[in-house]
């Protein structure tokens, strides 16, 4: 069993409240946009490998808020060292949800390392994450949402999604505009 990426992300972000979301470049950003544009999404169109560290800086700056990084598997692979860095800091308000289709979707669906069995959940636990698990069924989304909003971090969820091509949903692309909108919304709540 594998997840439908759009259905999973849509249900993951239902009733998101004041959750701060950092989607990784490529399909992750399109999925989060498809779930509904929100000023507390810091969309990325580049900076591959940096999604989790942007979220860490944010989580350390705002310990009273919940922060989720949502990279694809290629993005997470490029920033694997960040799992060790996050494991050192132990931010309790921090969650990573990897959208893992075991493919590089932007470049032609070439197999990624996870296709050969590299396991993010095991890596996260080895890096001192408090909780890490792999989910494959949509029935598990409620427990993931519970972890997202109330679990003691750092937490990593590896969401196994189907390697399918879905229509692109393109959000705001101007980096200054994305930043200004995010900061204004964060400080308004």
């Amino acid at each position: 069993m594998m997840l439908d990426r759009r259905q999973f992300v849509q249900q993951l972000l239902v009733d998101r409240g004041d959750l701060l979301v950092v989607p990784g470049l490529g399909s992750a950003t399109y999925d989060i946009a498809a779930a509904g544009d929100h000023p507390l999404n810091f969309y990325l169109w580049g900076a591959m490998g940096g999604t989790t560290m942007i979220a860490l800086g944010l989580a350390l700056a705002r310990p009273e808020r919940r922060v989720v990084a949502i990279p694809g598997d290629g993005d997470m692979l490029m920033g694997l060292g960040s799992l060790a860095t996050i494991g050192v800091k132990q931010p309790t308000n921090f969650v990573v949800v990897v959208l893992d289709n075991a493919r590089y979707g932007e470049t032609g669906m070439q197999a990624s390392h996870t296709d050969a069995g590299v396991d993010f959940a095991a890596l996260a636990l080895a890096c001192r994450f408090r909780q890490a698990r792999t989910v494959t069924r949509i029935e598990q989304v409620a427990e993931v949402r519970q972890l997202l909003h109330a679990g003691e971090g750092p937490i990593l969820i590896n969401a196994k999604i189907k390697p399918e091509d879905v229509p692109r949903v393109l959000p705001l692309r101007d980096g200054h505009a994305i930043k200004q909108r995010f900061v204004a919304a964060l400080n308004a709540v």
Partner: protein, 177 residues
């Protein structure tokens, strides 16, 4: 007052004083001999969250996230680390995030290790190509003024500023058996 001998060894204290003055709250670094005193000062400060990185590019993303959350952050790295950051620097330029980077130089004055030279000799040019304004510090008594100006420019102007602390200032790495 500081004697000249004090200034020669206490320039990291001048950098730290500016971190306090402008309200730096996060400091990202990869352990470095040249920055060891400054790193210890930051680690011992309860107002500063020190974040030890596996690679310097993590620090660029950290700075961006801190700024989103309303905190000021600084990066400490060695010249070789600048090369590890190049693509991630695009985040600063695309979004206009402030960044103050303190770069200890290797591969120049008194260097014993030729492997440091290729990156050390292009560090300043690389930073400029990536959108940084760069300032070199050659002597300990100039650290205070230059780092102070750099911090103000970064955080008042949302600019990417790099202060290059020359190897002549830091002293060549001591090669011990």
């Amino acid at each position: 007052m500081h004697s000249p001998a004090d200034i020669a060894t206490s320039w990291p204290d001048a950098i730290y004083a500016h971190f306090r003055r402008v309200g730096v709250r996060q400091v990202g670094y990869v352990p470095d001999a040249g920055h060891s005193r400054l790193i210890t000062l930051c680690q011992n400060d309860r107002q500063i969250t020190d974040v030890v990185l596996t690679t310097e590019e993590e620090g660029v993303a950290l700075v961006a996230g801190a700024a989103l959350g309303g905190q000021r952050a600084a990066l400490l790295m060695q010249s070789s680390g600048v090369g590890n950051c190049v693509n991630m620097f695009s985040l600063l330029r695309n979004c206009g995030f402030p960044c103050i980077a303190l770069v200890t130089m290797r591969g120049e004055f008194g260097e014993f290790n030729p492997w440091q030279v290729p990156m050390g000799t292009i560090t300043e040019a690389v930073l400029r190509l990536c959108g940084f304004l760069t300032y070199r510090v050659e002597s300990a008594d100039a650290v205070d003024e230059i780092v102070g100006a750099g911090c103000d420019m970064a955080f008042n102007g949302d600019l990417a500023i790099a202060v290059l602390l020359s190897q002549r200032l830091i002293g060549p790495k001591q090669w011990t058996r």
